[in-house]
């Protein structure tokens, strides 16, 4: 079964599909204003017409490619293609101005390749442990896990004001309650509208929040970047990479760990690894930091790529996506009736090995495709935003429609886009909404089951469920830490005003 799954990911057709996904991801990630999550959300519609394995390889290819792609525009035009490429932009563009843009990009390719490997190895190493532990989770623990996922996501998404992250997560939960209740079959918040009985399609919400909302926000803005004339030779130097191997391993571990925390994605990973890398750098290297340091590029790029493997860890083992991009992958899997979580190896034998292989294949293809696609990508930068983002609108429409062949879902996507735009204007994060929408059904069903089990029991009995009690303490810690952070932030701001 294991070998069969591995070989399936290596058939010529699947390799071609993965290469298409990787190439599309690199080009998409390289375009300023087009994020990884946007790519993943919009392409769920395209994957709807594929079989399970093809869709998985395609989506993993897009994920792997787009995370690296952000580095291209960051280095060449000083605009990060994806938010996590900001540290790479700070360092890489300085190098590009000195005529070392090609070498900086080569280093980013090598670092991304290593980062992906670290993430994959840690994913393979840790998943059996988490699965073995998670198999003992019952309703109470599953409810608390879902609650942790949503609240941690809120905390991580809005750094200075976790309250707004929690509100966003809670709004997502409310969206998910619409539809027929899973225990009694009672309609909830449907108001007699037939289409609402099936619930609100979260893929449409995803496309609206990360696709249309971005178009509404960015398209009306004017272009303001210049295109570089020359890229230079783009070949990763392994001698230089070897010099920064310590930073690479450290950043890989940081990236994977951050990826495993719900809501904390490549953005937090690359900034954290960049910051820790600077503190740990040798004095002569530290002096280059901010003025064009290769070690800084390695730190940031290894971390944001290792994040991919990390984000798959809670998604595959617990059904809790590590970030919005992983949530899109989860959505694509759900469309194929694949339910991930503690019983993944029982329900879908071999799938996990297929995913490992697909990740490895996507990483190897990313390495080659990145070298080939950098120069064409730089040419594509001459495409104005007005053209590029306009072309995304029909993809949003088809993507939302393709899931259930329903115009109602297209309207849901449109409404979600407007909501996403307004939330952005009011400075609310949008990623926790997705976590809320995905995890609320899990929370709802398990919460009520747990209450039934605990109906005649004392508080002492509830607390004697030790895993649940530890998880309950984690929930309390998340909220207390968040409130303390808000207070600290407010005091700092007041001090700043005085």
């Amino acid at each position: 079964m294991i070998w069969e799954s591995i070989l399936q990911a290596l058939t010529p057709y699947i390799l071609l599909i993965t290469l298409s996904g990787v190439s599309l991801g690199i080009v998409w990630g390289a375009m300023p204003g087009l994020s990884t999550t946007m790519a993943m959300a919009l392409l769920i519609g395209l994957s709807a017409g594929m079989d399970q394995n093809t869709a998985l390889s395609f989506m993993l290819g897009v994920y792997t490619g787009s995370v690296f792609g952000g580095a291209i525009s960051a280095v060449m035009i000083n605009i990060p293609g994806t938010p996590d490429a900001v540290p790479t932009m700070i360092e890489g563009h300085q190098l590009a101005r000195r005529g070392e843009g090609g070498q900086a990009l080569g280093m980013a390719i090598g670092a991304s390749f290593i980062g992906n490997w670290v993430g994959i190895v840690l994913l393979i190493g840790f998943i059996p442990l988490i699965l073995a532990f998670a198999l003992h989770f019952k309703s109470w623990e599953m409810f608390l896990l879902a609650l942790i996922g949503i609240s941690v996501s809120g905390s991580m998404a809005a750094g200075s004001l976790p309250l707004k992250g929690w509100i966003a997560g809670w709004l997502g939960m409310l969206v998910a309650f619409v539809g027929i209740d899973s225990i009694h079959g009672v309609p909830r918040f449907t108001f007699g509208i037939l289409e609402l009985q099936d619930g609100i399609n979260y893929v449409a919400v995803l496309i609206g929040l990360f696709g249309l909302a971005e178009v509404l926000r960015v398209l009306p803005q004017r272009d303001h970047y210049t295109i570089p004339a020359e890229v230079g030779r783009v070949i990763p130097s392994f001698t230089m990479l070897a010099r920064y191997s310590k930073a690479a391993v450290r950043s890989g571990i940081i990236g994977t760990l951050i990826g495993a925390i719900p809501g904390a994605g490549a953005n937090v990973a690359s900034f954290l690894a960049y910051d820790i890398g600077r503190r740990r750098a040798k004095p002569e290297e530290k002096a280059k930091w901010g003025k064009g340091s290769y070690e800084a590029i390695v730190s940031a790029e290894v971390a944001n790529n290792a994040n991919i493997g990390g984000s798959m860890l809670p998604m595959l083992a617990l059904g809790i996506p590590g970030n919005a991009a992983a949530a899109s992958l989860l959505a694509a899997l759900t469309l194929k009736n694949v339910v991930v979580g503690p019983t993944i190896e029982i329900d879908h034998p071999g799938l996990i090995y297929y995913i490992y292989t697909a990740l490895v294949v996507a990483n190897i293809l990313m390495y080659g495709a990145a070298i080939m696609l950098i120069k064409p990508c730089v040419k594509l930068f001459s495409l104005p935003r007005g053209l590029l983002l306009s072309l995304i609108i029909p993809i949003c429409v088809i993507g939302a429609y393709a899931i259930r062949l329903s115009m109602f879902d297209v309207w849901v996507m449109f409404a979600s886009g407007l909501v996403g735009y307004v939330l952005h204007a009011f400075r609310f994060p949008t990623a926790p909404i997705v976590l809320g929408v995905i995890l609320a059904p899990l929370a709802d069903e398990n919460f009520r089951r747990a209450l039934l089990l605990f109906e005649d029991k004392s508080i002492g009995f509830v607390l004697s469920q030790y895993v649940g009690t530890v998880l309950l303490l984690v929930v309390a810690f998340v909220f207390i830490e968040g409130v303390l952070r808000i207070r600290r932030e407010r005091k700092d701001r007041q001090r700043g005003l005085n």
């Binding site: 991580m156 509100i167 409310l174 053209l387 072309l391 609108i393 400075r427 407010r490 701001r493 005003l497």
Partner: protein, 182 residues
């Protein structure tokens, strides 16, 4: 980056808005959560309280109401301490955004109401061109004219080629039907 800095979070834009904006948001959230709480209580419950369909929605809305209250209190305190605006990197152009929203809204309404498809039989293959293609080309051309600011012909050409390619991929490669098609 400085040695001591705040944790900026995954979404760099997220955080404090102006106190006025935060107050508006909290008022809206409070109203929304109160409405959901009322709806949850009125929900039909065939079982016990433990399995009531409205239980978690009620608790979620209740806690959301508390969060809205906390957000409002923070906004009021910030307003009193003199915080008015929060610097943001981007300068949104609301008029152009509104225009874009209106265009997309009209386009979707047309897509909802108009359905037709012209088909050509080529051996075993049936090629179709329907309401989705026609309406999308018109809408996309209009959007390109406004935001790309090129003459009609390039906008129409790009729009035609892109929509035909996209529709072709979905119709014939992934066999996904398109909206507005019969």
């Amino acid at each position: 980056m400085t040695d001591r800095q705040h944790f900026s979070g995954e979404d760099e834009n997220a955080g404090f808005a102006s106190p006025g904006q935060d107050l508006i948001a909290s008022a809206f959230l409070a109203l929304l959560s109160l409405w959901i709480m009322v709806e949850s209580v009125q929900m039909n419950n065939p079982g016990t309280l433990a399995t009531a369909p409205g239980l978690l929605p009620f608790l979620t809305a209740g806690s959301l109401c508390l969060m809205a209250g906390y957000l409002a209190s923070l906004a009021i305190r910030r307003h009193r301490s003199g915080a008015t605006t929060v610097p943001v990197d981007e300068q949104p152009d609301h008029l152009r955004t509104l225009m874009l929203v209106a265009l997309i809204g009209v386009y979707l309404a047309c897509l909802q109401m108009i359905s037709f498809e012209y088909t050509v039989q080529l051996d075993a293959m049936r090629l179709g061109y329907g309401a989705f293609e026609v309406l999308t080309i018109i809408a996309l051309t209009a959007i390109l004219l406004i935001f790309w600011r090129k003459p009609l012909l390039p906008c129409l050409t790009v729009s035609f080629l892109w929509v035909t390619l996209l529709a072709g991929v979905f119709r014939y490669v992934f066999t996904v039907p398109l909206p507005g098609s019969l």
